[in-house]
């Protein structure tokens, strides 16, 4: 495993994105993200947060500029990347276990190996008892856990998360935030996370990027130097609240432009 933490996971240089003749969704983005960083993109609607993830995953191509993921083109880097969508995007005709094993299956991993791996992951996200259930039978929070387990199954080095907890109630969201950090502590992946929630961004991130719209650009960078490991209690500290206030202020500035 590459433990050269100095090398960037993501290098984005002068990237712009336009759709047709409409104004630029993103303009002249420069961004370096180091290995094991947890970077959150936050900003008002239409600032191109999701587009950044689509570009990094190679699901859409930039209109100008260059992207490198661990030194590779986004499409070539897909093997080390997992994407978590806003909806759990589970296959309804598959059981929880079969859903978690989907990525492994598509990559041709043998059935026995798959079973081993999915069992371990289901235990890790606390879903061992519903391995044989269908998505229809699960709550929103449980579905999202399946989605996370599926993303982690292929041992990604980079996790892209596009508002994964936006549809959940606050209690489930907080709990999943804590779980996400626990998993990150064990597996050491790099994360790029998109959210509308300032508190969520502060709790999870090593660094927050505030984006502004028309055209989409990075208008502020806020390093989050709260102590690790972060647990539920952190949310009640004055340092946490001060950081939330700081990011909220930057966000208001972005929206006002």
């Amino acid at each position: 495993m590459n433990l050269d933490l100095g090398a960037p996971m993501i290098e984005i240089t002068g990237v712009s994105k336009k759709y047709g003749n409409a104004g630029a969704v993103l303009e002249a983005i420069d961004l370096h993200i180091l290995k094991e960083e947890f970077v959150t993109l936050i900003g008002p609607s239409g600032c191109g947060k999701s587009t950044v993830l689509k570009l990094i995953s190679g699901l859409t191509a930039p209109s100008a500029g260059v992207l490198r993921v661990d030194g590779m083109t986004p499409v070539n880097a897909r093997e080390i990347v997992s994407y978590i969508f806003q909806d759990a995007t589970l296959l309804p005709w598959r059981t929880v276990r079969q859903n978690v094993g989907l990525g492994l299956e598509l990559e041709g991993v043998s059935k026995n190996r798959r079973k081993e791996k999915t069992s371990a992951l289901l235990e890790l996200v606390g879903l061992g008892h519903v391995a044989g259930a269908y998505p229809r039978e699960l709550s929103g929070g449980m579905k999202m856990r399946v989605s996370i387990a599926r993303a982690l199954a292929t041992n990604p080095r980079l996790l892209l998360m596009d508002e994964p907890f936006a549809a959940l109630d606050e209690i489930s969201r907080d709990r999943l935030n804590e779980e996400l950090l626990r998993l990150r502590g064990e597996q050491k992946w790099t994360a790029i996370f998109v959210t509308h929630s300032v508190a969520e961004a502060v709790f999870l991130s090593t660094r927050i990027l505030v984006l502004a719209p028309n055209p989409g650009r990075i208008c502020a960078t806020v390093p989050v130097d709260l102590p690790w490991p972060r647990t539920a209690g952190l949310r009640e500290t004055p340092e946490f609240e001060a950081m939330v206030a700081l990011v909220s202020h930057a966000l208001r500035g972005a929206a006002a432009r």
Partner: protein, 263 residues
């Protein structure tokens, strides 16, 4: 269990009431039996000619099932081609509408001419008439997959074959069943219509349509009624069979297949 018993009792009561009204009409208007036989006479005809009735029933059922199976195989294959690109759909889809609009009674004589009379020709007619809904619904199911699911597969470097067989095809199964449900009704109609033209290669033995024609030419009105009754039972039986299969394959994961319609 008790509720199911109630349903059966209800149906039986309605059936008895209808038979009674029917019998009353016969008494009041003095209808001759060759115009409208009594329910009792129909029941007697069913009992007396049960083996040949069952034979006709089996022939028509065979033709309709053959037609549907053929249209599922051909229809799903065509839909898989249609799902490949919007361009292919634009070019070829209008032609499937032709299948739907061509009157089956108009082409039945042609098929008889080309293929000769018999079970094969009638199966072909049932197939032609039931093909369009299978193609239309399956295509819809194949192409209406959530974009994020496609992205998910792409992120795992899925091959086009994996996208088709692990995502689009299973996703289209509920729509396929909608198509089969529509097709099952019209396949029975197609088979009976086909039999009116091309029903039998040996005199006196054929499916329900053929026997209906034969019975009416012989003024065996009681048997004619028995045949009509059998045709209705066949249509119902088909619908229930398809609904059962739909439930069997989909109830574990799909909302539409839950027994909500029972009430």
């Amino acid at each position: 269990m008790k509720r199911r018993l109630m349903v059966v009792a209800n149906a039986a009561a309605v059936f008895a009431a209808l038979a009674l009204i029917w019998q009353l009409i016969l008494w009041i208007f003095r209808v001759p039996p060759y115009m409208l036989p009594s329910p009792w006479a129909v029941a007697k005809a069913v009992a007396a000619r049960f083996p040949s009735l069952l034979d006709s029933f089996a022939i028509t059922a065979e033709e309709a099932i053959g037609g549907i199976l053929l249209s599922v195989v051909v229809g799903v294959s065509v839909a898989l081609v249609f799902a490949q690109s919007r361009w292919v759909r634009r070019m070829l889809y209008p032609w499937t509408l032709l299948l739907q609009t061509v009157p089956i009674v108009a082409i039945a004589p042609l098929i008889l001419m080309w293929m000769g009379a018999g079970i094969f020709s009638v199966t072909l007619i049932a197939f032609i008439i039931s093909l369009a809904p299978i193609i239309a619904n399956t295509t819809q199911g194949l192409i209406s997959v959530d974009e994020n699911l496609v992205h998910l597969f792409l992120m795992h470097n899925a091959s086009p074959a994996q996208l088709l067989f692990k995502l689009r095809l299973p996703h289209s199964v509920p729509s396929l069943f909608v198509g089969i449900r529509i097709a099952s009704g019209i396949a029975v109609i197609g088979a009976i219509t086909g039999e009116l033209y091309a029903g039998s290669s040996s005199v006196g033995r054929g499916g329900l349509g053929y026997s209906i024609l034969y019975a009416s030419s012989q003024l065996q009105t009681d048997y004619l009624f028995a045949l009509v009754f059998a045709a209705t039972v066949l249509g119902f039986g088909f619908l229930f069979l398809v609904m059962f299969l739909e439930w069997y394959f989909l109830h574990k994961w799909h909302e539409s297949a839950r027994p909500a319609e029972a009430e």
